[in-house]
Symmetry: C3
Subunit: 317 residues, 3 copies
Amino acid sequence: MKNFTSVEDINDLQSMIKKALEIKANPLAEPNKGNGKTIGLVFLNSSLRTRLSSQIAAQNLGLNVLMLNAAQEAWNLEYNDGVVMDGGTVEHIKDAIEVLNQYCDIIAVRCFAGMKSKEDDTTESILSQFEKHAKVPVVSLESATRHPLQSFADCITITENWKQEKKPKVVLTWAPHVKPIAHAVANSFTEWMQALDVDLVIANPEGYDLDPNFVKDTPIVHNQDEALKDADFIYVKNWSSFEDYATMPEVKEDWLLSLEKLKPTNDAKVMHCLPVRRNLELSDEVMDSEHSIIYQQAKNRIFSAQTVFSEILNELK
Amino acid sequence: MKNFTSVEDINDLQSMIKKALEIKANPLAEPNKGNGKTIGLVFLNSSLRTRLSSQIAAQNLGLNVLMLNAAQEAWNLEYNDGVVMDGGTVEHIKDAIEVLNQYCDIIAVRCFAGMKSKEDDTTESILSQFEKHAKVPVVSLESATRHPLQSFADCITITENWKQEKKPKVVLTWAPHVKPIAHAVANSFTEWMQALDVDLVIANPEGYDLDPNFVKDTPIVHNQDEALKDADFIYVKNWSSFEDYATMPEVKEDWLLSLEKLKPTNDAKVMHCLPVRRNLELSDEVMDSEHSIIYQQAKNRIFSAQTVFSEILNELK
Amino acid sequence: MKNFTSVEDINDLQSMIKKALEIKANPLAEPNKGNGKTIGLVFLNSSLRTRLSSQIAAQNLGLNVLMLNAAQEAWNLEYNDGVVMDGGTVEHIKDAIEVLNQYCDIIAVRCFAGMKSKEDDTTESILSQFEKHAKVPVVSLESATRHPLQSFADCITITENWKQEKKPKVVLTWAPHVKPIAHAVANSFTEWMQALDVDLVIANPEGYDLDPNFVKDTPIVHNQDEALKDADFIYVKNWSSFEDYATMPEVKEDWLLSLEKLKPTNDAKVMHCLPVRRNLELSDEVMDSEHSIIYQQAKNRIFSAQTVFSEILNELK
């Protein structure tokens, strides 16, 4: 594996999941694999799970870890090429990346969508600079349009929780929020579920259909009750409008998941990437019920990261 | 030892002090004791000594260390149960703790008093959530009402500096300040001195008596000169009113410790937990005199933490 | 080596450069040299290269590393002696240093010029406190008047790029900026080039002459074109007025380096310490040309730091 920024970087998802479960069973099996090598974990945005799970994963492999809260600890970054930097930005992102090339064997970066320009976000205005200028492998710790380490952890979690022969029915359902939220988790979950080959349905209100480039032929249902029927897994996530970018068209129906709404499901497992705004995105009664496999998802973030770092190290040797 | 949040978590203080002094004599005697285990050091507030000494202590034992400046690096936390999170908070503290459970073998947390609600602070509104939701040992790095790693270091420091058979006279004296300061250090020092079995006196102005649940039968003296007479150790600390919570009743006398005030003492050693506001809480002439054992206290923070982590690791094995 | 704050701390520059190049050839040759020892990397200001390269250097030697973003993570520091600390400062710098003495075997600190008082900056009001109060070796990670780890890396870089018998002509040229910038990099480069024994010329507009205590007998030229003629190395850096301290006297000529301006040079290599404001301090066409050895400078920051830490460890053993 060279880079890891989307499901496209995986050759064989089933085999990657198998490796991740082996790592989970014995996370310290290769404690010196990364010795003498350095991973830079660069955060342009907040993080709890990604920050900690990536560190643990790297430490489990014996990698040196450099943490960089770029915005607070380093310099205000310029993202536009060719400009005269006579304003508030002090260092061009491409120079920062060239320096990271000198210091790191792997660069991992978190760079959220700006939620201002549809074009900037859909073209991955920040991550694309890392892909262009990095001379070492790049790992996405969530970018404008994808959160692949989360989605890989979700695949691991669903695999652990599904022992039947038939494909599970997986519903990605929109949830309410108070401000416009990015599409990264929803997009990414969609493309990884397509690769996992489950029966995927996306449920969201009118006006909230995801980018067709991610949806492809996955059915979109605008009635939540209809979508949830017979569901085996329900993935809860808010996102803002893609079409009328980063707006929040009015929603009249109640999309907050409740135990009542789970009744017509197949005793569904409920998933969320966290952080979750309780009783806005997801009710306490569901969060704290046995339906939830949310903390197991969080734990699996270690093993998705460790599997990816391990695969990258295989090719660095 | 399961948790470490107060002196109650110690079975035998003398034996713990003895262990701490052994660790101080040879801090790298067990460099692999924590191998393969992870401690999360979670800071909800500022820290210098606690941050550095806890890291050193953990590294001396071979623990993996995760540092988390929760407020700046992760998400704005909600502390109230059952609320609809449609405001400025993004993640509930109990979900953050459940995630830390997945990633850490020990969770250490600093969570100061809010100094707004007496009830919130005396009931440890934040630490209690860690005690309730954590599934791994919890270590307090200072909470609303206690600072046990500091107090344990204070016990070590007094033990190092007292070679006589009789009990030393220890005076905890209030000092001036410009804003309302929490009771944690004063409360905690009181309960650890009670356990250490010294002759403890608390000196503070009228209106500044500490919480009776901590004071118990320790004498409170409202005249500083009277209290300091024949003192062997003087612990200087400001705190605000407990009764009229977090206010600062007017004080007419001069409570700033000077060399003159030390004359009637038994050549007393002067202690402070740091940070100290010089010439407000404690005069330069005392801070920089041979009376001060303040930096020795700071150094002993390493060994109080290392002893506690080591004891916890004994039970994790 | 005891401290490392200027070129004065080096006995034999050529031998230090030789050691640095040996370390660069085999950075992991002494992975246990620093075992059981702790370096505190204290940042009072922003940093990218220094933060990461110092960490890597320390890790390559097996040192324990404590990172401290003092301003954000610890307490607001007081720098004036004898004051009553009844304002916004919470801890005196000398107490913070005394605590670092307890915790660290080496203290490294970044403390920029305040750019308000010429006297405070030229007397190194912050670094001098570290030099005065530290009981362990002090390493400057850039101070008010010098950036010695950068300058040492610059010496390494020039050595790598110069294979002729004759001395290279090195031009330190002023560049435009939008705000008053400190003199540390320019001063420091000047004194290290004097020690390296190159043909050094300083080019800057009228009103921008550096501190004569650093310039000594190095020629200053106020015409950039004249200075650049036959240059082998061009070091680009902005600085504000020293004489009329921290002001920006008007400059009518165009001092932005272009490929056109490089024509009369000896196919000069172009250097910059980074971060660089592109197209203000240095044009894209030069930055991205084969003239630039800027990223090589950045890489050599690892080896300048590792050489210095290694020398200090020799005397700590």
